[in-house]
Amino acid sequence: MTEAAISLKHVTKSFGSVIANDDVTMEVRSGEILALLGENGSGKTTLMNMLAGIYYPDHGSISVNGKEVNIRDPRDAFACGIGMVHQHFKLVDVFSAAENVIIGINGKGRLSHRQIADAIRKICDKYGFDIDPDKKVYDMSVSEKQTLEIVKVLYRGADILILDEPTAVLTPQETEKLFSVIRNMKKDGKTVIIITHKLHEVLAISDRVAILRRGVYIDTVETKDATEQSLTEMMVGEKIELNIDRPLVEERPLRLRIEHLSCFNEEGIQKLDDVSFEAYGGEILGIAGVSGNGQKELLEAIAGLQVTMPGASIVYNAPDTEEGAELIGKTPRKIRELGVHLSFVPEDRLGMGLVGDLGMSENMMLKDYTRGRGIFTDKKKPKELAERIRKDLNVVTPGIGTPVRRLSGGNVQKVLVGREIAAAPTVLMTAYAVRGLDINTSYTIYQLLNEQKEAGVAVIYVGEDLDVLLELCDRILVLCGGRVSGILDGRTAKKEEVGRLMTQMRKEAADA
């Protein structure tokens, strides 16, 4: 049990002038679940990529099961029994599940799809997966894709599994399912390394926790001796407050009144069904729901990006005006100019809102390129804005001209949210603003939202983490199947209550 499955000695890796891992020496015990904890950009993924053969260390040595190995590419990693499930799935969309599992495996003769499908079913039965070998990846949900990645690694006979932020895009239910699979794998004698920065998950699943801070290995502790507070301190290197503020703003003017909002997506599936609610300045309205229950469509409809069904109305009351303005029928730009801003952080973080190859200042220009004189763009103001956001939000980047694609996830999100806040909105909508962010950066974002709220902005916050929603929001609107299943007071609502509302409609439909 105490034998080392993997031991790293003085491993260093740098990219250009940036040192991602600095002299890391650590051990992973055979048959344990080890959580690798660290802030964004602390080098967790880089370190694991060296075990998976994606990167090669500059210095240092790696031993697997007591034997020193040289992992030059992923094939070597498989030979050592190491398999990694990457944060960005490495799947081919147009292939079936079975085809994705066998890519890269050499074998003789014609491909026998049935044989592979049987092997996959066997793995699924053993660990409690649910995968249809013939299903194409483009038809799969995020959670199915992740399951497929795990099956892929197991099919290759891996004994040591590395999961890179597996829960970042999962719902609480899917996360629970994943954890039971991980426990099954542990029972089967596999070693599991899980990269995450969600502390309660670390405490729930792992045997031990290894902590990295800015590329340097800090320590490994037994999970049973650790608390959220102690882990955070090791991770950040200083004491931080783990409570989210919820200031009460006295004056709360009506900003948005939404009535009978319905819409269909491109495939003709109804995503919103008769949604009505109000949003007030000086409060944070949280929107809870299992992902894909209409959150995205709701925000897009308000921002003018969704076609809505007749009969809906979205009335916006600007400050200092008596009459409300109808937003439906206005162009997205017009709606922005009125002060209603949307910052949406998609699953891949970059897809919507920022251009990866452009620098910070160019990305600032994206939303107001129409300003400036004549045909020439005004470059000075975006530059100043970019410098200000960089300073205020502590964005780590070599320079504001560096393509944002090269920044770490947390910094990309700071740029995205920072740009919307800088435009001094009266309604600020953010979706998944802390998706994939570490605890410290998340708190920075919550702080930013609270500052906006105190400035009288109506904040609409779509979130995944119920604990955060309950701590941060003044009111919580629960969406289920595109309908509002309840609007609760954030100060008195219970987690179970929200959870029940999130799944309520389905139950009603099943009963009917």
């Binding site: 094939r75 490495k90 081919v92 969309d93 292939f95 890519i103 890269g104 014609r110 491909l111 483009y138």
Partner: protein, 327 residues
Amino acid sequence: MSSLISLLQAAVYFGTVIMFGCIGEILTEKAGNLNLGVPGIMYLGGISSLVAVFLYEGATENPQPALCVLIALLASFLGAALGGLIYAFLTITLRANQNVTGLALSIFGSGVANFFGGSLNTLAGRFEQISVPVTSAAFRKTVPFLSGLGAVGKIFFSYGFMVYLAVILAGVMQYFLHHTRSGLNLRTVGENPQAADAAGIDVTKNKYLAICIGAGICGFGGAYYVMDYIKGTWANDGSIEKLGWLAVALVIFATWKARNAIWGAYLFGVLYWMYLYIPGLTRASQEIFKMLPYVVTIIVLVVTSLRNSREKQPPAALGQAYFREER
């Protein structure tokens, strides 16, 4: 009846040239590289085979037809694969833009080929037009006995062996890409090189091999054009180039499936030559008919985009360079 037969025959000749180009390009594109240098590569294949057999026929008293064919095919494959190697080095190792590199290769290939083609004509001297009679005859030898069977014989068996080789090659390519592990690995490289890399597939090696072999197959198209289509001579009129672009269009028409390239190529041939068999066309209206293959390609693009079928889309990573340590 006889005009219909001759239309079909013309379509088969024509289709065979672009079928080779199309099969080669499908292999290349499945590896994620859009090689727009097909016309240039077909030129290189054509001139290499011509130079090789011209030297052989000139140096030997009694050239062996079988050896002539072998030399021609080998030379065209190597010449074209060399063109592919230039493209592969630029786009894979140096990560140059694929479109620009491909277009440059098209111009380069036609320049090189026409330079040597012109020189050969000068070398041939007394006839002012080069010819390689033995090789050309070997290429154009039709299927014995069967080709004499009336209309059926004319439509199906009145061609040189390259026509049948193209069809067989298309079948082999289809089988390779969709029913072998190596084919699956190669398609993974073209769809998602990151996934391929993480699965232990050598992305660079797969791309190099696919591009060079694909180019070699395109080169067969050039050899067939020179030896059979224009009967073993050289013409500086740029018609290989025209066919090369049609081969690229055919890849899209065939929705990246080699089996569709077979009937697609013949269909393009029929559409291309149809103007000759429609009475009452003027020079101007002829040209409209010559556009038909391109029009059909556009229609196919529109239809497949409208139906939004995921299976009929180009490889997802087509045109993108891959670099592992980039994020």
